[in-house]
Amino acid sequence: MIDVSHVWKVFGGGHPQRAIQMADQGHSRADIQAATGSTIGVRDVSFSVQRGETFVVMGLSGSGKSTLIRCMSRLIEPSGGSVGIDGVNLLDMNDEDLRTIRRTKMSMVFQHFGLFPHRRVIDNCAYGLEVQGIPKAERHARAAEMLATVGLTEWANHYPQQLSGGMQQRVGIARALVLDPEILYFDEPFSALDPLIRRDMQNELIALQARRPRTIVFITHDFAEALRLGNRIAIMKDGAIDQIGTPEEIVAHPATDYVREFTTDIPKTKVLTASAVMRPGQALGGRQVAATTKVAALIPLLFADAAPLSVIDDDGHVIGSVAREDISHLLEDEAR
């Protein structure tokens, strides 16, 4: 669905290509800045996102994740590479085509909501329809429908700044959904919300995805959020991707020390599944558990009965076994 291929973004300086060359030769950000006056925002990033997948890009501030998503929506012009949407390179499009794809296919939710303070909630919601010239009655009807799905019907005639942060972001989401886009970009949408609201919103997003899966690229600096929402996660550092993988792969096998630092505080038993901790091979008797069972759910079974558990795949074949000692190091980690 989305193919990001060798995307670069260089800020400042007159010669982005020189900065890219230097970066290719392995020079550090500081060296490049000193030599060319340019800062590397995004460094040779490639990945692809499947239809209906939630792809999370996780990184700390300054890692280039916001720049990346702005390159992917072409809010800023990448310095190199390509962003394919259904096989068409977004970067080759002229303004007219770009506008068309934005009006029909992709949409975005912003960190600070990006709502228009001079428009009522309903008119914010209907904005994407309004710029397409859809008549007022129709666009208001569709916007009202969307507001109903996010539970804000009564607030339609208020101005966004009169709503709480969580409600404002619901407006932001409703505004994006009105277009029924196939692709949704989320730029740290929940970072500005307090933790309890954040959790609610994450759950709602999961529910929304379950009802009608869309292709989502989700930016966050919160590793736990990435694990909750992502089918796959890309971890960014200094403009480049350190590792891409499923939540489980990343927690079980962090590719770099940087990635490992994020995983240390994560309760691994809630991320890892039986398949990640099992010893592959024959069953040793005992109860059978599915390969996708989280380790946390195995613990009571293992302690109820000393025998190792047999792990079976989707088809019911035994693919390995888990004994108490296989998970003991995880428990030690968590007890620490």
Partner: protein, 643 residues
Amino acid sequence: MTTTIEAPPAGEHRPARWRLVPAIGLGMLVVLGLALSAVDGWPANWNMNLRNPIDDFQSWIIDHKTDNPFWKFFFTPISSFIEGSFNTLSDQLKLLPWYALALIAFATIARTRKWGSAVVVGLLMLFPGAVGLWNPTMETLALLMVAVAICIVVGVPLGVLAALNHRFGSLIRPLLDAMQTVPSTVYLVPSILFFSIGRVPAAVAMVLFALPPVVRLTTLGINGVPPETVDAGHVFGSSRRQLLFNVQLPQAIPSIATGVNQTINLGIGIVVIAALIGAGGLGQEALDSLRTRSPGRGLVIGAALVALAIVLDRIARSFIERTTPDPGARQPRWVAPTVIIAIVALVIVGRAAGWLDFPLHWGVKWADPFDHFLTWARDTFRHQIAWVNDHFVADVYLRLADFFTNALAWPVIILAGAALGLWLKGWGLAGFCATSGVIIGLTGFWTPALQTTVQVLLASIIATLIAVPLGIWAGRRPRVERVLLPVLDALQTVPSLIYAIIFVYLIGVSMVPGGIIASVLYAIAPGIRVTALGIKAVPESAIEAATVFGATPRQVMFGIRIPLSLPALIVALNQVLLITVSMVIIAGLTGGGALGYEVVDAFTGNHVGKGFEVAIALALMAMMLDRLTQAFAVRFQPPAATR
């Protein structure tokens, strides 16, 4: 994880040591200059003789107004457009029933549900009529409306362009800076060259003087639109036009309205001196009361102008507030049309019935007691007043002026200015000061310029000595500030000429009433304001930290508050200086001599060439003082955050 934190280079906010050299050099130069006092004033034949070509150009314009295409198709149409709109507007305003404008003003403010303010504004709108100044007030209002409309029509697109096109923006920013630094007097000169005398050049001068805030605040408003909303506009597929009209301009409206409000205030500020080139209206009335020595009448005229200023300010503010949506204040749909229809009906009825004259009249009654009081004060304290005035003029002003014009040789003054610029900022400023000094000399007004500088410095020092302690006091005590603010507002809205009229009556013709007292009264308001702001902006955490470490209130004041607000104090000085420079013409009208006298003479005698020379000297003086104080403030700014 351990990271080493490297200190960035300390930066250049402290001057390199070698810059102290010019400071020492300056001291030596002063000594040298005193020794060189044999050198006379600026050589008389070093004159660029600007006035001849300009006077010739003026005669050429008069001869060719009808056949030169540039006049035929550019200046003359502009001129007749302004003239026509002014005449229509002022005629229509004068034909309104007496209560019409008060009703409109009331209804405009009432939209924001500030009933008290609406009533006060309505009554204030009745004031000029009640004191018998209705017609001149309407003329002034019409002139202001024409000028402000032109400012909006020209200024908003310029501001949008400057925001969207960075090259254009960086091109006009220094121009706007310069336009706002130059005293309003300067704008009168080119206006009379191109548009002769009358309402038209007055409106043109008003537009030139009042344009910058609209442009600036439009740019500011557009640039201040949260970038995420612009991104959102893009993401939802807006075209450039849609982005501008749906997203950027609507969010910039409060800022634009603020700009328009400032523009109106600047326009009102130039009403009196624009009367020197034929603006008529209240400004002309004020000049007349100066000529006839009627301070009471001057005061009433000033009050009428203040009333008009407050009404316009509150109306503009109601639009600023209005654009910040608050559905709590939304009224049912039928209210606005009903009110408008009711007002229109009342106006039509009143006009048909001929209710034009004011039913009440208390003009003269207000003026007389004030005149009596001033006459009494003048006669009673005649000797004391004369003693202070004579000593100030003879022992302070004339001695200083003599020191600058005779004791110091002119090269020393120019070099000293350059050295100051070098010390405060660098070679650029040094070059600017030296060049400006030489150009002022070449205009032929070296000595008056120095005399004016002395007056400006004296008034500024006095104003700063009053403003800074009051500003610190107001910044520390909210209650003091609350009491002081309305007084400051009043001080600043009363046209400065009114102070001069009152004190000329008391003291007699001298540099004191206009050059010192009126300037000080006019300049302390912003001085106090900026100082108070600076004191208040000192971070609370710094003060808490000092207190925790056991600093006494005195130590907090002199060790924390004052050093941290020093840049603001220097900005206050900058404001005071620029305002006193703008008062030079008022000083000239009331016996201050120097450049002020020369410029008044140029206007009254229609010597445009001479006017240009003086205007150039005045503009350069203002720009030099501005840049030097700005550089001074920057030097005391703590370094900006680098990470």
